[in-house]
C-alpha cells in the first residue's frame, strides 16, 4: 500500500520549522554560561592573586606545619579575602598543604518565591525538564585528596611561578570545580602557592533555570501552535473530505447528476471549488438532459425530410421507370427502411420517457410476465436458449406489466446479442423482486460499467450496420426499473465468464 499523507500530517510536518527554536535557545544559554564561567575564572584568579599578594615577602606566615589549621595573621588574611562558597588553600614548595579554609558547599539558600507566570510554569514543568537537565547538586564529595594537591597542573604551574587554572570534577563526579592557583613570592623565590576553588553550581543553576524557561516557553508555544494548526487542518480536511464525498456521489451509477451542498456558500477557495464543481456538474446535467432529449428531437426533426423522401419514392414507383432506375429506387428504399428503424428506436425511447412520468401504477405478479415473455423468446431468438428460474411464491411489483415486459425484452435482446451461445441465457427472479439476466460471453469494459444505462451509450464492437444500435435499450431498462421504484446495474460474472444485468425492484 502506498503511504498516504493527509493534510493534517503535512501541517504537522510544516510545524517542524519551529524545531530550531529550542535549539537556538539552548545555544544562547550555553553561550551565556561560557561568558559567566569566564567571569568566574577571572574572579578566582584575582582572589588567588590577592591572597598571594597579602602573603608576599612574609615567609614567616608560611612557616606553618602541614596539617595544622591556619591561625592568627594567616587566618585573618584568608578570611578577609575569601567569600562564601570559596575554598582557599595554600601549599608549600613541597606541595604540602599548609592551610585550608572555606567550604565548597553552598549554604542551602532558600528558593526564591516564583517571580512571574513564566517562573511558575517553568517550576511546574520541572518533572519534565528534570529528564533533560541535570540539576546541580550540593550533595557532592568535596574531599581534597592528596593526588589533587600534588598532581594538579595549576599547583605545579604556580610553584614554577606562573598563575594557573583548571576545571575538574569532584571526586564523585557530581560537581564541577574550578580552581585558580597563584604563586606566593618571597624575593625571587616561590615560597608556595595559593589555590582558590569554587564549584560552578551557581552558574549552572542559573543556566538551568534559564533553560527551564526556554523549555517551558517552547512547550507552550508548540502545544498552542499544534492545537491551532491541527484544528485548522482538521477543519480544512473535513470540508475537503465532505466536498470529495459529495462530488463522488454527485454522479450516480446511472449517470444522473445531483447538486453539491458542501461549502457552497463559504467565501474561501474551498467554497470556490465547490461552486465551480457545481457549475461543471450542472453543465454535465444539462448535457445529459440534452442527450436524453436529443433522440426525441432528432427523430421528430428527421421525420419530415424522411417523409419527403418516402413519398417521392412512392410516387416514383408508380411511374414507368427504366430497369436501371428501378435498381436505384430499390436501394433508396432499403436506406429509407434503415432510417425508419433508427427513427422508430429513438421515438420508442422518447415515448417511454413520457410514459414513465405518468403516475399510474398497478400491482402485478412479475412471474407471470416473465413466464409469458420467456416462452415467446424461443421463437424470436431461435439460436439462443433461455433458462428461467422463478420463486414459488408470487412476486408482486407495483408498476406496469407492459413496461416490465418491455424491459425484459430489452434485457433479453441484449443478452442474446452478446451471448456466446455455449450456455443458455439465465433469467432468474427471486422472491425479493430481484431480476438477473446472465449470459456467457465478452465482459464489460470496466470503464463502461457506470455508463451502460445512459442514453446513447453502446459498447457493441462490431455492430451490424444494417441493424442500427443507438445504445437506447439499456437506457430504457433503466427508465422502466426506476418506474418500478428499482434500479438497474451491470456487472461481470465473478468467474469472468460473462455478464450479469440486474434489476432490483422493491416488492409491494
Amino acid at each position: 500500500m502506498r503511504l498516504r499523507f493527509g493534510l493534517r500530517a503535512k501541517v504537522a510536518l510544516v510545524a517542524l520549522v519551529l524545531a530550531p527554536i529550542p535549539w537556538l535557545g539552548y545555544r544562547y544559554v550555553k553561550d551565556m554560561e561560557a561568558v559567566l564561567r569566564e567571569g568566574q575564572e577571572q574572579a578566582l584568579v584575582a582572589t588567588a592573586r590577592a591572597v598571594a599578594t597579602a602573603l608576599h615577602d612574609r615567609p614567616e606566615l608560611l612557616d606553618l606545619r602541614p596539617g595544622v589549621a591556619a591561625e592568627g595573621e594567616m587566618e585573618r588574611i584568608l578570611k578577609s579575602l575569601g567569600r562564601a562558597d570559596l575554598r582557599i588553600w595554600i601549599v608549600d614548595r613541597q606541595e604540602r598543604l599548609l592551610a585550608i579554609t572555606g567550604d565548597l558547599r553552598k549554604k542551602a539558600a532558600p528558593e526564591r518565591p516564583p517571580g512571574d507566570a513564566l517562573d511558575v510554569l517553568a517550576r511546574s514543568l520541572r518533572p519534565v525538564t528534570a529528564v533533560l537537565l541535570e540539576r546541580p547538586t550540593e550533595d557532592f564529595d568535596d574531599a581534597l585528596p592528596e593526588s589533587q594537591i600534588s598532581g594538579a597542573g595549576e599547583v605545579r604551574a604556580a610553584l614554577q611561578g606562573m598563575a594557573g587554572r583548571r576545571w575538574r570534577n569532584s571526586t564523585d563526579a557530581r560537581a564541577v570545580i574550578l580552581s585558580a592557583a597563584h604563586p606566593v613570592w618571597s624575593g625571587d623565590d616561590v615560597m608556595g602557592a595559593v589555590v582558590v576553588e569554587e564549584t560552578t553550581n551557581a552558574i549552572r543553576s542559573l543556566s538551568d533555570r534559564t533553560l527551564e524557561k526556554v523549555v517551558a516557553v517552547t512547550l507552550v508555544v508548540f502545544a498552542l501552535g499544534a492545537v491551532v494548526l491541527l484544528a485548522f487542518a482538521s477543519r480544512l480536511s473535513l470540508r475537503l473530505r465532505r466536498l470529495r464525498d459529495e462530488a463522488e456521489d454527485a454522479i450516480d451509477s446511472q449517470g444522473r447528476v445531483k447538486k453539491l451542498i458542501a461549502g457552497s456558500s463559504s467565501r474561501d477557495e474551498i467554497g470556490d471549488l465547490s461552486r465551480s464543481f457545481s457549475t461543471a456538474l450542472e453543465r454535465l446535467a444539462q448535457y445529459n438532459a440534452y442527450l436524453e432529449k436529443l433522440g426525441g428531437r432528432l427523430s421528430h426533426e428527421l421525420r419530415t425530410p424522411v417523409t419527403v423522401v418516402r413519398s417521392s419514392l412512392e410516387n416514383l414507383r408508380m411511374t414507368a421507370l427504366p430497369e436501371e432506375a428501378r435498381v436505384y429506387t430499390e436501394r433508396a428504399s432499403e436506406g429509407l427502411a434503415r432510417l425508419d428503424t433508427i427513427l422508430t428506436r429513438m421515438s420508442e425511447a422518447t415515448r417511454l420517457e413520457s410514459l414513465v412520468r405518468q403516475p399510474e401504477r398497478e400491482r402485478f405478479d412479475a412471474r407471470e410476465v416473465l413466464r409469458g415473455c420467456v416462452s415467446g423468446y424461443a421463437s424470436i431468438y431461435p439460436a439462443v436458449r433461455f433458462a428461467l428460474s422463478l420463486p414459488d411464491t408470487p412476486v408482486m411489483l407495483r408498476g406496469a406489466p407492459d413496461l416490465y415486459a418491455q424491459m425484459l425484452d430489452k434485457l433479453a435482446a441484449n443478452a442474446a446479442d452478446f451471448s456466446s451461445r455455449e450456455e443458455p441465457v439465465r433469467i432468474r427472479l427471486d422472491e425479493k423482486g430481484s431480476l438477473t439476466v446472465s449470459n456467457s460471453g465478452p465482459l464489460l469494459p470496466p470503464e463502461m460499467a457506470g455508463r451502460l444505462f445512459q442514453s446513447m451509450v453502446s459498447i457493441r464492437p462490431d455492430a451490424d450496420p444494417r441493424e442500427p444500435h443507438l445504445g437506447l435499450g439499456l437506457y430504457m431498462v433503466r427508465l422502466i426499473a426506476e418506474f418500478h421504484g428499482g434500479e438497474a446495474r451491470a456487472a461481470n460474472r465473478e468467474d469472468g465468464s460473462g455478464v450479469v444485468l440486474r434489476v432490483d425492484c422493491p416488492i409491494q
Binding site: 413519398s311 428506436r345 420467456v374
Partner: protein
C-alpha cells in the same frame, strides 16, 4: 364523380408528393399550406375527406384548431391526422378533436390509402342503405365490417379506424394469441411495440367506459393479445 381529398400540410414537398399520389389513385386533390386558406376554402365547399397536419406554418397546434372548426362545419366529414408527432399526448388530443384516425408520417402511402378508401366506403354506406351486411359477432361484441362500427352489449363504441382494425384482428379468432406484427398488419400501421400497447390500452378504456367489467382483451406478456371468448 371523383372524391375530393383536402390536404393541409405546411411542407411544400410533402404536400405536392401526397397530392400527386392521391391524384394517381383517382382522387381530386385540393392542397393548402396554412389554416386560414384551408378554412376559407372549406367554408365555401367541403371536401369529401381531410388530411391534416398538426404543426402548421406559425401554429404548432394549428391542425387541432382546424379539426375542431372542420368538425363544427360537418359532423360526418372523415378527418385523418397525418403528422410527424407520435407522442401519446398528441394522439389523444387529436382524437379528442373528433378526428377519425391518427397516422404518423412514417406510415407510408399504402396505409394512408387503405384508410382513405375505408373511410370513403363507410361514408357511402352511411348515405345509402346497405345492400348486404358483413357482421362479426363475438358474444357481446358486434363489428360492422362495412361501416366500421363497433358495439358492445348493444352500445356503440367510438373507435378510430386503426382501433377498429385492431379489435377486429384480435377478435377474429378468439383464444388465439395475436402478436404485435400480426396486429400491425391487420390495422395497416407500422409502429413500435409500445405504440401497439398504447392503442390497446386506449381500446380497453373505451370499452370500459361502457362496461366497467370489460376484460375481453388479454395481454399475453411477450407474445401479444388474445380475445377472451
Amino acid at each position: 364523380m371523383a372524391k375530393t381529398v383536402a390536404i393541409v400540410e405546411d411542407d411544400a414537398a410533402i404536400r405536392a408528393n401526397y397530392a400527386d399520389m392521391l391524384k394517381k389513385h383517382g382522387y381530386q386533390v385540393s392542397a393548402f399550406a396554412d389554416r386560414g386558406s384551408a378554412l376559407a376554402a372549406f367554408r365555401s365547399r367541403l371536401p369529401d375527406l381531410a388530411l391534416l397536419d398538426i404543426g402548421l406554418a406559425g401554429e404548432p397546434d394549428g391542425g387541432f384548431a382546424l379539426c375542431r372548426e372542420l368538425r363544427a362545419l360537418s359532423a360526418a366529414l372523415p378527418i385523418i391526422f397525418l403528422t410527424a408527432r407520435d407522442s401519446d399526448f398528441d394522439v389523444i388530443s387529436g382524437l379528442r378533436m373528433g378526428a377519425d384516425d391518427y397516422l404518423t408520417k412514417d406510415a407510408g402511402m399504402p396505409h394512408l390509402l387503405a384508410r382513405i378508401s375505408a373511410l370513403f366506403r363507410r361514408a357511402d354506406l352511411v348515405r345509402e342503405a346497405p345492400a348486404e351486411e358483413e357482421i362479426l359477432e363475438r358474444a357481446e361484441l358486434r363489428l360492422d365490417m362495412k361501416r366500421f362500427l363497433a358495439t358492445w352489449k348493444g352500445k356503440p363504441v367510438d373507435l378510430t379506424l386503426t382501433e377498429f382494425w385492431l379489435v377486429h384482428g384480435v377478435a377474429r379468432f378468439p383464444g388465439h394469441v395475436k402478436n404485435r406484427e400480426q396486429l400491425m398488419k391487420e390495422a395497416h400501421i407500422v409502429v413500435d411495440d409500445s405504440t401497439i400497447t398504447s392503442h390497446v390500452k386506449r381500446i380497453r378504456r373505451k370499452f370500459q367506459a361502457i362496461d366497467e367489467s370489460f376484460a375481453a382483451i388479454d395481454t399475453v406478456y411477450g407474445l401479444g393479445y388474445r380475445w377472451n371468448a
